[in-house]
Subunit: 312 residues, 2 copies
């Protein structure tokens, strides 16, 4: 027995295909394409790669995307001034400031910057007003990763209403909004974390198990009820050959890839779970592509709302 693999690449393409008509309609009505401003501070190679990928995807979908690159020693006030300028820029519909910000900006820099973004342009869904509206079941702009997980479940025909869902991880950007989105779709939702007693047995109650704790291969077969749907949100870079050898047999394509590159991105779910779960998102190619697709969708939503005068 082997789990059905839920193909995030294909589902992400479906969503992007669905954006063509609204992008064309917006462009016709507004006389310009929906505008997405990406802000990248410093030289983190992962962030560079990720922002470039967002820029390319946005361009492919007919959005007018731009990157603002700031050096790593930029004072936070300068970043806040840029955000303020983008808030007032009529051609900018969505603002994304890539995290993490450089540590020199201070411990609360991300919070200050996310709070400064106009909620109507907050395509990451991190502004407290949008988070509050999410709780109240009326948010237009919802954090991309959890809303992408909902798309995977719904487009794969996995029943959420009445299901028992367990979310492992309670972050502001994945775990908590994930729990709320599942709750609003009538799942019975349990949120687990590092302080949960007997985590495996709680997880084993789940029809839908979302692993979002950022610990590679943490979720082993004893966490999974046979036939459950397992969503793997983890993406931890791993360069320890011994760990990788423990997860993948010689000749497994991921072990081969590791041996060529010296690192791989590992999910929170142990490869052995594939033999127990009913359906499973792979890493890579599962939740990741949805995060970008939902960013584009949020940008189009924000643009349409601004055009129609629906704002905050």
């Amino acid at each position: 027995m082997s789990a059905i693999r839920l193909d995030g690449i294909a589902i992400g393409q479906q969503i992007r295909a669905g954006l063509r008509a609204p992008v064309a309609e917006f462009t016709r009505q507004a006389g310009r394409a929906p505008g997405l401003s990406l802000v990248l501070v410093g030289d983190d190679p992962g962030s560079h790669l990720y922002v470039s990928s967002k820029l390319r995807s946005a361009g492919d979908s007919g959005l007018d995307a731009e990157i603002h690159r700031l050096p790593g020693d930029t004072p936070i006030d300068e970043l806040l001034r840029l955000v303020d300028r983008l808030n007032r820029d009529e051609r900018c519909d969505g603002i994304l400031v890539q995290s993490p910000l450089p540590t020199q900006m201070g411990a609360d820099a991300e919070r200050r910057v996310f709070d400064a973004i106009d909620p109507a342009k907050d395509v990451d869904g991190f502004h407290p007003t949008n988070v509050g509206k999410l709780v109240q079941g009326r948010a237009d702009l919802v954090a991309c990763t959890p809303s992408g997980v909902i798309e995977i479940l719904e487009r794969s025909g996995i029943r959420i209403a009445g299901a028992s869902a367990v979310v492992i991880g309670r972050s502001d950007i994945v775990g908590k909004p994930m729990a709320l989105l599942l709750l609003h779709r009538h799942a019975t939702v349990t949120i687990c974390h590092s302080r949960t007693r007997d985590l495996a047995s709680v997880a084993r109650e789940a029809d839908i198990l979302v692993a979002a704790l950022g610990r590679p291969a943490f979720v082993t077969t004893d966490f999974v009820k046979p036939g459950a749907t397992v969503i793997d949100v983890g993406t931890t870079p791993v360069s320890d050959a011994e760990l990788v050898a423990g997860w993948f047999e010689p000749g497994h394509k991921r072990r081969d890839a590791f041996e060529r590159r010296g690192s791989l991105v590992m999910g929170d779910v142990h490869p052995g779970v594939e033999a127990v779960a009913g359906a499973l998102t792979p890493v890579p190619g599962g939740v990741g592509p949805l995060t970008i697709a939902m960013l584009l969708k949020n940008t189009v939503t924000a643009a349409m709302n601004r055009l129609n005068g629906i704002g905050l």
Copy 2:
């Protein structure tokens, strides 16, 4: 065996006693008492009683409280203008618009009015910005009933961290904020509702069970693990003598009171649970008094924040 009764009246008094020093300090610094504006629209007798009780409690705690009474046929725009005036009133630190609003104001009237209240004066904790900050673990003004439940648990020495908590009910003003507050205190939290399969067996896993669904005596002994702490948020007026006779033996003081008055306020928890639970909040005298105490506490917090220039 009989559950310890968690005395909400005594705990509410503790909280109000703790407000004396900050109220005096604010009054000394500001040259006036913290100001609470209560707004009551229409003639609902329950709302009248409730607002009068809030006014009296606020006065007893040294706050400067006032009631704005508007007739039931007031247009919503007039109510919104009053809110706007209170938002700009320097002497007003907290605004509470009593729900329910008259149906003639429209289905979304409460949402529109709560959204219009300055988040810095939102002593009910209903504004989306305050709800979002609650999700992010940094709210000053949190909905009064769930934050009152936390006070009961903490002041009664009931351990939340590591506990399994089950919340029955997923309303915006009780169930969802309750789940978040328990989660932030490191409980493993499950939210149940009308679509939950085998609700009793899910509830029976709880060390802390919060019943907030508004169905009198719904939570029976088979929902409760022996020794669990049971918090009863329900307050449903009941005037059906047969129902009451099914819950309380002849001679029980609540049945006597019903026979005198022709109605009683019933919680969500069946009286039989007292024999199974380890600790239990009564109705009345459990969560109710905390709701008012937390409203006063929120008003003092809002006043202090405004005095110190901590706003939104």
